[in-house]
């Protein structure tokens, strides 16, 4: 922007034209706590004359107030925008900063260095074209440097600037610089990073940031700014085959049916043959519609609306792909996961997975291994905790179209969402489809559920009893079964304690094992419903997520959740099995109600208050409910 001063009014149009043709580079900065990331960005803004007077004045005031030692400007204060960050003097969350030069516009993601903010760094890296890794010249390559480099390689950023900073504090020593460069290149090569530029910097003093420094006459490479202004941008997967997720079906009237989305790979021309996934139907592109008029061709990165020559069924979440180079379709994958939630990953628990414009149900198998991000060792793991990275198999509830992440970030990257809190709890990179997913098909069975039910003479149903230990679930379930049996109904009672002696005897009482316990029981119960039985399931089943999963295994109307509502104090007083006493003495870990949570149902079909209702009356209430919903014939 430096040359604006001598613009005359007539030149402005030309100036803006040249400005408008600039490209956009997104990069992230990372490094460990005191390497001076924020200082470097502040310096870039300052040197590009992009700090306004009032911002500078505010910065001077903040620097004094928060006690910058030597009275110098503390550029970090420009970026740490949250009150907690300024108080603690650290960066917690990703901050995005913007600046431009005569050649380019830049978006910088300033990411936190601490290990406990790995998820924030991954977030910043997911949209970056280039990574700038800072190193304190006095400290050299640290564990954090390795961790950040690994994450950058994992997220598919190929171009790295190693900014060897604070070189002024080692007397601009070339041997120090050379030693760090050599060490880093050896490490980076081992994780697949090869496009690396090493720069001798002092962000604080400004050496080699925007102008070549007289202090490092031995440095032949570019300044940081020169590099950023000229490095090639190839983040948009522009050279691959066409990929475009359908975001929105555009139907202004009966004569127009368009499919809106953003091209995330390759390009598309009018007349191109396209395949719609996962259905596999094909057509040719009739028009590429934009408000400024139709286009002949659209490239990766553009948001467009396509119309086709044929009427085929397409909805949000489908993927347009080049007919001669389509994406794969599968429902079981191997993927790398980055866990981002305070709550640990629970293998078997149903989560949601969003990829492109599609959201599907997913369960995750126990990790094959997790990665120690500092040493890059593979470690055995049963689950993943916050900020942990591991490789797992995924099982989706329907097929999706995908590419391996290394081929296309947009068709291979996904997020995981908790079904209840709706938080984003993880992110993942798809590697490949599991072969079994392509080889195991549903066998079409001729004697079906309907046929079983007809022979039984009644509708099947899953009656799910939930409540604390000692609430009275088994007592009531027994009474209900006796009554149904007396009526000549075909029933089966699955009881928590009994199943743990057989099918589930390998499981303990950790949260993860409880989830698996319920998953297996729900699957067994669902098979029995398929066989035409009325299945009574009596399990503590403390978590909403798994009860909901059980509910989704059978059609609506065939699931009846019975909440046996006994207050903890009452159940503990009854303590028929003596378990509460043991738990209170600390002899039983993970006991529901004591040191493991119980999540009461929000809308059970039947709620039994056992403090106000005898077991016989409770059984009668449940039988009446089954009559009312048509599982049993009316009286």
């Amino acid at each position: 922007m430096s040359r604006v001063d001598d613009l005359s009014a007539g030149d402005l149009e030309e100036y803006l034209r040249s400005h408008a043709d600039k490209t956009l580079l997104r990069f992230l900065t990372c490094g460990s706590v005191d390497d001076g990331k924020s200082t470097l960005i502040g310096r870039l803004l300052y040197e590009s004359k992009l700090l306004y007077d009032d911002q500078l004045r505010a910065l001077e005031a903040d620097s004094k107030r928060l006690g910058a030692a030597d009275g110098e400007l503390d550029f970090a204060l420009l970026l740490d925008g949250l009150a907690a960050e300024r108080e603690q003097g650290i960066t917690i969350d990703v901050a995005y900063r913007f600046f431009s030069t005569d050649k380019r516009k830049f978006i910088v993601a300033d990411t936190p260095g601490h290990e406990q903010y790995t998820r924030n760094m991954v977030t910043g890296a997911s949209t970056a074209d280039v990574a700038v890794i800072l190193i304190d010249a006095r400290k050299g390559v640290l564990i954090q440097t390795r961790r950040h480099s690994y994450l950058i390689a994992l997220l598919g950023i190929r171009r790295v600037v190693l900014a060897i900073n604070k070189l002024d504090l080692v007397g601009y020593s070339r041997p120090v610089f050379d030693r760090i460069e050599e060490e880093y290149r050896a490490f980076a090569g081992s994780i697949g990073l090869t496009d690396i530029v090493c720069l001798p910097l002092s962000a604080k003093k400004g050496d080699n940031v925007t102008t070549p420094s007289a202090n490092t006459p031995w440095h032949r490479g570019p300044t940081l700014m020169e590099y950023l202004e000229t490095v090639e941008i190839d983040s948009d997967a522009g050279n691959g085959p066409l990929r475009m997720p359908v975001q929105w079906v555009n139907r202004p009237n009966l004569d127009f049916r368009g499919f809106s989305g953003r091209v995330v790979g390759g390009s598309v021309r009018v007349g191109d043959r396209v395949r719609v996934l996962p259905s596999g139907k094909e057509s040719t592109v009739a028009r590429i519609v934009t408000q400024e008029g139709d286009l002949d061709r659209a490239v990766s990165g553009q948001s467009i609306t396509l119309t086709l020559h044929h009427e085929i069924d397409i909805s949000r979440g489908d993927l347009f792909a080049a007919a001669d180079s389509p994406a794969s379709v599968a429902d079981q994958f191997e993927a790398t996961l980055v866990w981002m939630s305070e709550d640990e990953m629970l293998p078997g628990r149903p989560y949601l997975l969003k990829i492109g414009a599609k959201t599907v149900g997913v369960t995750i198998a126990p990790p094959k291994y997790k990665v120690n991000v500092n040493s890059l060792e593979h470690l055995a793991a049963k689950t993943l905790h916050l900020n942990e990275i591991g490789v797992c198999n995924l099982n989706l509830d329907q097929v999706i179209a995908f590419d391996p992440y290394e081929q296309n970030r947009d068709t291979g990257g996904f997020i995981l969402i908790d079904r209840f809190s709706n938080e984003t709890i993880g992110a993942g990179l798809l590697h490949f489809a599991l072969r079994r997913s392509q080889n195991i098909h549903w066998q079409a069975i001729e004697v079906n559920k309907q046929a079983h039910a007809t022979l039984m003479g009644h509708k099947p149903c899953m009656v799910w009893f939930t409540g604390l230990s000692g609430a009275g679930k088994s007592t009531i379930a027994n009474l209900v079964e006796k009554r149904l049996h007396a009526m000549g109904r075909h029933t089966y009672l699955l009881d928590g304690d009994n199943v743990r002696h057989g099918l589930n005897k390998d499981l303990g009482f950790t949260e993860a094992d409880r989830v698996e316990n319920i998953r297996r029981v729900a699957e067994v119960a669902s098979l029995m419903v398929d066989a035409g039985l009325i299945v009574l399931v009596s399990f503590i089943s403390p978590f909403r997520a798994e009860r909901r999963m059980a509910r989704t295994l059978v059609p609506q109307g065939e699931f009846c959740e019975v909440f046996v509502d006994t207050p903890l104090g009452v159940a503990e007083q009854r303590d028929t099995k003596g378990l509460y006493k043991k738990a209170r003495r600390g002899e039983l870990q993970n006991f529901t109600g004591i040191d493991s949570p119980y999540e009461p149902p929000e809308q059970p079909e039947v709620q039994i208050d056992t403090t106000a209702c005898a077991p016989e009356d409770a059984a009668e209430t449940i039988v009446a409910h089954l009559r009312a919903t048509g599982v049993l014939d009316p009286l």
Partner: protein, 300 residues
């Protein structure tokens, strides 16, 4: 392979965000504040859904203290585009006669805008609202997600933000909760002006210099837009050639002296400017971190 220019990339991203947002919610609305950012956002919405019309109404949370030219512009623009506009005026603020003079900017903003916005969202049951805020405006905005989750009480928790990766936006929420979506997050002030210039987007004439009656108060040039503004004994409105870099309530919006009466003139002045745009706004200066506080309480 052609690389998109920065404006093309920003435009495509904003359109992508809007399409994703309307697909993932039940009842969206677009906050329309009449300023230049709103004008750009509206222009992008028309592109995003063409040939359909944007599938949501516009909502103006009015304080009754905007410049008269803003109201004229708003009504003309909505008529021209054939869109639905909802104007919400906080009845409690009307009843209590809240205004910037005795009540100060903090109370005025809180009751008219923050409370008014919450009322309007609750009244119509909107579960997603588009806003024109940009990350380059202010430090706490720089940290906010594009899809920003709000509790049932409309609160923002900066420490509990959802990670936002790639182009995957998580707009899921439970009943009563809502999402604010900022399609212009990655635009800068200069991008906005360039885009207005190249796309010939109509903007309120107050952005262009003209002789207007102003008084100097607490270091800011305040336009006397109507007779409701009480003048101090030593104040006499003087006709001065001024324009506005941002628009809000007229008693809270400082003008700058300028002769720039066309787009290229104001862009040139902006390129040479030495103060940032929100400096003309009184509300950000209340205290350090004030925007973060306001946002936590439900301000856009």
């Amino acid at each position: 392979m052609r690389t998109l220019t920065h404006l093309q990339r920003l435009e495509a991203e904003s359109i992508d965000i809007m399409r994703e947002a309307v697909s993932e919610c039940e009842k969206p609305v677009m906050l329309y504040s009449i300023g230049k950012d709103s004008s750009v956002m509206l222009h992008l919405a028309i592109k995003a859904f063409f040939p359909s019309k944007p599938p949501f109404p516009l909502l103006h949370v009015d304080t009754t203290w905007k410049f008269r030219e803003m109201y004229e512009f708003r009504d003309a623009r909505v008529r021209q585009l054939g869109l639905e506009l909802i104007v919400h005026v906080n009845p409690e603020a009307v009843q209590r006669g809240i205004n910037p003079f005795p009540h100060g900017s903090a109370v005025h903003t809180d009751i008219w805008k923050t409370e008014g916005l919450k009322q309007a969202l609750d009244k119509h049951g909107f579960d997603l609202a588009f806003g024109g805020a940009r990350r380059d405006e202010e430090k706490s905005r720089a940290k906010e997600r594009i899809f920003s989750f709000r509790s049932a009480q409309h609160r923002w928790d900066p420490k509990m933000q959802r990670p936002e990766l790639w182009r995957l936006y998580n707009a899921r929420k439970n009943k009563g909760e809502s999402i604010r979506v900022f399609p212009l997050s990655n635009w800068t002030e200069l991008d906005v002006w360039e885009y207005i210039y190249f796309e010939r987007i109509p903007i309120v004439p107050l952005y262009f210099a003209k002789k207007r009656p102003v008084v100097k108060r607490d270091g800011a040039l305040i336009m006397v837009d109507d007779e409701r503004m009480p003048l101090h004994a030593d104040e006499a409105p003087a006709l001065t050639s001024v324009r506005f870099r941002t628009l809000g309530c007229y008693p809270l919006t400082g003008a700058i002296e300028s002769e720039a009466d066309n787009l290229s003139g104001i862009i040139k002045e902006m390129l040479l400017a030495t103060t940032s745009e929100r400096q003309g706004r009184v509300i950000d200066h209340d205290s350090t971190g004030s925007m973060e506080k306001k946002k936590q309480e439900g301000y856009f």
